[in-house]
Structure formats: C-alpha cells, structure tokens
Symmetry: C2
Subunit: 172 residues, 2 copies
DNA sequence: GCTACAGTTGGCAGAATATGCCAATGAAAA
DNA sequence: TTTTCATTGGCATATTCTGCCAACTGTAGC
C-alpha cells in the first residue's frame, strides 16, 4: 500500500475525466500526452486509490421534471449521540436529499433537496422532514435561479507543475 | 423539434447513467432490456434533447488535497441590475466556486466553495469574495462532515411506470 | 564512472465494443 | 382490414479495450 502522490499527469487526467467522464482512453491518453497503456494504468490506480469515486451523468433537473431545488437548514436537539446518528442515517436514505452536510453556523445540517414542485416540497417537508428524529428547527431556502452547478474541483489551485507535489493518503 | 416525452425505459437509462456513466452501451442495453442499437439511439436522443448535460468523474475532495468545503451566504446591494449581472458573471468565473444559486431567505446567493484548507479560504474570502461587485454581507458556514454527496436525482419520484408520462421541452 | 534495479513507458494482439444501415415488428390511424 | 409510422433487432466494419512483454529513465550503490 504505497501512499499516493499526484504528479502533473495525474492531475491532468483527473481534470479531464471531471470535465468529460466518457472520454475514450485513447482520447484521454492523447490529451495528457501519454500512450493508451500507461494512461489506462494510471486511471485504474486513481480509481483503486479512491481518488475517483465514480462516474455520473449530469441530468437537466428541469428537463426530467424536478423543477424545484431547496436548501434546507436544520437544527437538531443535540442531547443524544444516538439520536444524531439516527438523523444522519435517515437523511442519507431519503432520495429527495441530494446532499447533506454537518455545518458550522446557524443550522446544524444543510441539505439540498430536489423535488418536482412546491406541492411536492410541501408534502416532503410536512410528511418526512418534520418527522425526522431530533429535528428542532427547519429553514427552507428556495433556489430561484441556478448561477453555477457541478463546477469542476479547482485542481489547478493545488500546486504548480512540480514533480511530485502532494502526499495523499489512501482511503481512511 | 418534437417535444420530448420520457417513458419508463428512458428513465431507466437516465437512472443507470446517473449511477455509472461509464457503463458500456452493451451493459446499459442489458440493464434496460433492450438491444444495443435502440439503446444507443435513445441515449443519443437524451443527450441531444439536453436532458443529459454531461458526464463527470466524481473525485475525492480530501484525496486531491481540497479538504475544506464552505457554504457561503452572500447579500448583495440590489440597486442596479447591471451590478447583479456583474456579480453573477464574476462568481461563475471563480474556480473555487463549485455551485452558486440565487435563493430566497436571509441571503441572496448561496455558494459552495472548495479550497485546500482554512488558510486558503481566508485568502479567497478576503482577496476575492469580499472584493466582488455589490457584496454587502457574507456569512461562511464550514462543512464539518459530509453526510451525503452527489446523491442521484430521485427519478423514481416522477410518476409510476405509465407509458408516456411527462412532456419535456427541448433546451430553452 | 559503471552497474544493478525499480518504476514507468510504448507497442502489439486478441477480445470486446461502438455505430451506421436495413429489414422486421407492432401499434395506431384510416 | 389496410396503411402508416415509429421503434426494434441484427449485421458488418471501424474503433477501442486491455493484458503482456520489451525498452527506457533516473537513482542508488559499488
């Protein structure tokens, strides 16, 4: 289990696959100035190391009939640890919840919820969210306009083009 | 320009590609119980209709050295429309900003920002965000734990398995 | 300076896949 | 029933995937 170091080519590969996950290995190899064999090997290594967690199609939410995105701030009663775990597990299992983070600040959790319309959200809020274990307060912020979405991670911000810039641990 | 209607097979295709964008067309065809030819044709149609906006690799943020995610609420002075546009364009151009929405509620905009660490965020906040045009207030909520991320859109919540459920317009 | 060595690369070949074309199928309209 | 139209499945060819092996590069040790 060697600990992993990303060189410039690895970052180039990650950036390219982040932009277009359906690149052919031949295309990818050409983009990063490598022949297909070592390119594929690097991709497999990045996958095995857990740096690439998956490949996903990005869908048009409005187009598939999911027109409403809501950012939901939730406060929970922090008395029991078991209750907090129950809350987390419940949230993970909800298909309408696209992402959920424990955050600092006013709310304890920040959820991104995707539903068809306001009626569906009302149903989800009163029928599901408000009944989750330990919830003490919910604040719903509706997305009125999407300015930017699914932006790529800023890999360019890591380090220059140095040889072996950054030690990276394998999956914890 | 035929307006688009999703049937059960289309939704199945979308769900599968959302889960794993590197599925082979042969695998995808088998999963949706179609032969490769019509399967590929449907995928191409879904892409052309704009329902599939792209395919992206999901990276491990910590693994690539981007260990800090911050949700940033921003209030802007709403006096000039031109100023609001300038703000939007500036935000879109920032690589650290992974997503940005105009939202209802306390803040006007909600940004998701990804940086290496707290020092990088301090630099980004004081050197970039606070200097954006029209910003009047900024509230930073740090992600302490990621409970769920990149959850698939809940296509199952759309309609039953009816024939031609839902009219969908082409790209606006 | 020279040798041994570890890691990486590039090329090759067989298997699998992508993709355009055409006939066949099935359902709705006349 | 017949016509029409959209969709499907199969086929052939070009491209790609992927494991294997030899060559190369840079480093450490002698």
């Amino acid at each position: 289990m060697p600990s992993y170091r990303l060189d410039a080519i690895d970052r180039h590969i990650l950036a390219a696959l982040q932009r277009d996950a359906r690149l052919t290995n031949v295309q990818l190899a050409e983009e990063v100035s490598l022949s297909p064999s070592p390119c594929l090997r690097r991709v497999r290594q990045l996958e095995a190391a857990g740096l690439i967690r998956g490949y996903h199609a990005e869908l048009d939410r409005g187009g598939v009939g999911l027109g409403l995105t809501v950012f939901v701030g939730i406060k929970v009663e922090r008395h029991h640890e078991a209750q907090a775990n129950a809350f987390r597990e419940a949230v993970v299992a909800l298909p309408e919840v696209v992402s959920a983070h424990l955050v600092s600040g006013e709310s304890d959790f920040l959820l991104q919820v995707v539903v068809a319309d306001l009626a569906a959200y009302e149903c989800f809020l009163t029928g599901t969210l408000l009944r989750l274990p330990g919830v003490s307060d919910i604040r719903s912020n509706f997305a009125i306009q999407t300015v930017k979405e699914h932006g790529p991670l800023p890999l360019g911000r890591l380090e220059g083009e140095g040889r072996e810039p950054m030690p990276v641990a394998r999956r914890p």
